[in-house]
């Protein structure tokens, strides 16, 4: 019979997780873990809840950075005035995760830890140059979002490590951003493709461009070489098309019920273009 434990300190949780990490599963909001348990996709011997550990929830300003506690639910991320003001694309991405029931229950840390490719927030955090902060048996680590996802449902988390925080650096004044979630099926489906574009401009020329594509491949992808094509350039229709084409050509897409690999490639082309058109025209 599975044991359900509710440690009250992070240390205790790390110890429980480290004791036998192969048969222990962490549960935050449970939006995913409970489904997986019900479908018998996982059969842990120990379920360790993080819910009673203080200090893991909420959005706060820390100098020029924003910290989001790992146990902050999507709805809170969506509604946070700080996030709305500084990272509107993240607020928007949080507002389109699953459905309202999932958003009130699922947590940002849980979402990242599961590393389901068909997800919204990961690609946004990657484009925002966020850092995933962890605690573990041998201390804390700071993992750049771009290095956090390493494969299909696999993260850079090491044995016994727990996500505690997501840190997002401040962006230069005048940065524009967009998150486009493309759903090929129902309005409450997971993304078929999710595209985040973050762009800073000086005199109508792009000083910094970041484009992250989520849900299309095993992990969210940024293509720095393609991003640099925009450096010091105006985002013309032609340049936008070129960038979109390069993203479509260079991401190894996957097949699932939301679309074939071929279809996803087409959707990357369309939605990278649309996201770039959006950041060229205005903020979101």
């Amino acid at each position: 019979m599975m044991r359900f434990l509710q440690p009250e300190t992070l240390r205790e949780a790390i110890d429980l997780l480290s004791a036998d990490s192969s048969s222990t599963t962490l549960i935050a909001g449970g939006a995913t873990v409970v489904l997986m348990l019900q479908q018998k996709l996982i059969t842990p011997e120990v379920l360790v809840s993080l819910a009673r550990i203080p200090g893991l929830r909420g959005v706060r300003e820390d100098g020029d950075r924003i910290h989001i506690g790992a146990l902050t639910v999507h709805r809170e991320v969506e509604e946070s005035p700080l996030i709305r003001a500084r990272y509107p694309a993240l607020s928007h991405a949080a507002s389109v995760v699953g459905n309202i029931r999932v958003r009130n229950q699922g947590t940002l840390g849980g979402n990242l830890g599961e590393a389901d490719y068909a997800s919204d927030p990961g690609a946004v955090l990657m484009a925002l140059n966020a850092t995933i902060i962890t605690a573990g048996p041998s201390g804390g680590r700071r993992i750049p979002a771009s290095e956090f996802f390493v494969g299909f449902y696999t993260t850079a988390l090491k044995e016994g490590e727990i996500i505690t925080d997501i840190e997002i650096p401040v962006l230069p004044e005048g940065t524009r951003m967009a998150y486009l979630k493309y759903k090929s099926r129902s309005s409450e489906d997971r993304p078929c493709v999710g595209v985040t574009a973050v762009a800073a401009f000086a005199n109508d020329r792009c000083t910094d461009l970041r484009v992250a594509v989520g849900a299309a491949s095993e992990i969210p992808r940024r293509l720095p070489k393609v991003e640099s094509m925009a450096q010091s350039q105006a985002l013309t229709d032609e340049l936008i098309r070129e960038i979109a084409e390069s993203y479509a050509a260079n991401i190894d897409t996957l097949d699932d019920l939301r679309g074939s690999a071929w279809y996803r490639t087409q959707m990357i082309r369309v939605h990278v273009r649309r996201a770039l058109e959006e950041v060229r025209h205005g903020n979101r």
């Binding site: 493309y182 129902s186 409450e188 997971r190 074939s260 959707m267």
Partner: protein, 742 residues
Amino acid sequence: MAIGESLPMLDSRERVTGQVPYMANMRLPGMLYAKVLRSPLPHAQITRLDASAAAAMPGVIAVLAAADFDAPGAPELFYGFRLRDQPVVAKDKVRYVGEPVALIAADTPEQAEAALYAIEVEYEELPAIYDPVEAVQPGAPQLHDATPENRMVHAKLRHGDIEAGFAEADLVIEETYTSPLAQQTSLEPHITIAEWKDGKLTVWSGAQAPFGIRNNLAELFHLEREQVRVIVPPLGGAYGGKGHIRIEPMAAALAWKVGGRPVRLALERAEEFVTVTKHAATIIIKTGVRNDGTFTARQVTTYWGSGAYADASPGLVPAGMVRSVGPYRIPNVHIDSYGIYTNLPPSAAYRGAMSSQSAWAYESHMDTIARRLGRDPLDLRLQNLLVSGDHFATGEEMHDVHFVECLEASARRLGWDQPLDRGVGSIRRGRGCAVMMKSTVATSRSEARLEIDTQGQVTLYTSTVEMGQGAHTALAQVAAASVGVPVSSVRVVGPDTAVTPFDPTTSASRSTNMMGAAILNSGAALKRKLIEAAAPLLEEPTDHLSAADGAVFVTASPAERISYVDILRRSALDKLDATGEFSTKGGLDPETGQGIATPHWHQGAGACEVEVDIETGKVCVTRYAAASFAGKVINPVLADLQNDGNVIFGMGPALFEEMVIDNGQIVNPNLSDYMIPSFLDVPAELNSVLVESEKGEFHGIGEMTLPPVAPAIANAILDAVGVRIASLPITSEKVLRALLEA
């Protein structure tokens, strides 16, 4: 007046406060929990089954496998609605992934679940077949020894001279349409509790056909029908998935083995997907048409994938045959409708049964024809739609048919003749319409009983199942009107085969019509009894008396009256009751399909506007108008909700829903991967029209506007971007591919 009033559902408060006594909440003292061991293979011989370790597990009270049915006095192993080909648990052979192989009853669900893993089964895998067209080819794996080529049922219709009809045509068009395996997806899963006491069996079950299940169980357990009692609480949805005997034999057989304590079997969502499905269909439709738009001939060949066991198919495939032509004047018709065994879960009714697949084909085909002729699709339909007095392909005369009114009403509500903004950028807009005809059960009978007591309370005893559709509310309104009391005085007692009178099934949109008519008859009978009892009190002969508004009065002098309550009190009666029934007869010749298909035709239509994003293929249904023929509307709000619900429900199979199969395994047996519409998908403008007729018969309306949804959307896509999608669901990817290939 109770009829025509938009009353809220009788139990609306209970519904929104969680007080409805669903099966899901029912627990009995000493109750055991059942779990099902299921086949991991699509087709295999069982070479060994050893449950001895499982039987010794903590909390396990009973294990049931096919060998138990060999014992003296054991129940029959095989059951079925018409063809008894389905074992309660597999014997020697499994025929689909998910087929029950053994059952466990334990003190807790966890103990039952744990014991499943201790049952040892060895299989020898056999070749399997999933596609109904491939399953009839020579050399295809055969599921049942008695059924060569896997053809379980073949229904046919021969009307006129099909070859001569095609020869007369200026244009002959043949197309093939497909519709995949899909799920009924009731919110509440199948749940049954079975209990044996003194050699009698009592079953509580979320089921649409209490008496059918009672009769099937009586056969299975060699009992008199009266020794089996089936009680049905309100259902959390059914959509056809609870239309016939399903999990009741498992629960009852396990309870029989237990011998005393009640056993509860409740399916998980993934088990729902392997218990009952919508028939997959491949439909080949060929039509001859003259340049003036009149039809000369139509041939339809349908391969229904019925799954591994007959289940409801022996009844539904012939019904699907009749439903595959379309409501048009066609002089020469030739139909073959095959129910084919495949290595998949059994298929049965799915709201709009067989009509959804059929109308998908004939109404998409209709727009192909209109395009080829250069005709407006609405106009071509109106030219050919059957009207009262016409003869259908079965040879029967059409009466009280209003296909034209339904289609015109939906088109008018949409604004078919208004200019359409064709869209800018990547968006293209288009309009489409569709109409459908559906038969109901040809020969059937419903009974109702009404009782009035000294408080003036009227109790309606009915075996019609309340499953969220509002049947009990509508029937209470009919009861109130028929007796002449306010609806607030009517109480409904729902299905219990030991208490409520006979009714075969709450399905095929038959209840409002059949049960409604039975209630009108019992109301009239109850009034006669009240008049007889009042006659001596009013000192008038009965033929001078009338009954209305809670009183019997002298017809010529209405002020001389006596209330129903006073009639009972002054006659020293506790109560008066009366039973009424209504029955219909029909049927088709099995060789020619000629005869009477249905006592009346279900009629519905829809018209819609869609937006297609030509860069993604994504379709958005922005406006929809649905019209059904309702005869006489009992409760306008509930009736409109049926129309609305049909459209939303129908958008699922049209755009998203498909059970994806990989080597017989269902890839998406959950509601995250199997996609049903969300409320955010509901068209921004959704309209309902209820068409009534002077004859004023009650008509069922639970399905009428569902079958037109998929073809109306497909036709609107054709109008918007010129591509024809011939396989459901119409995914974004299919549309984009078609656009790129065009």
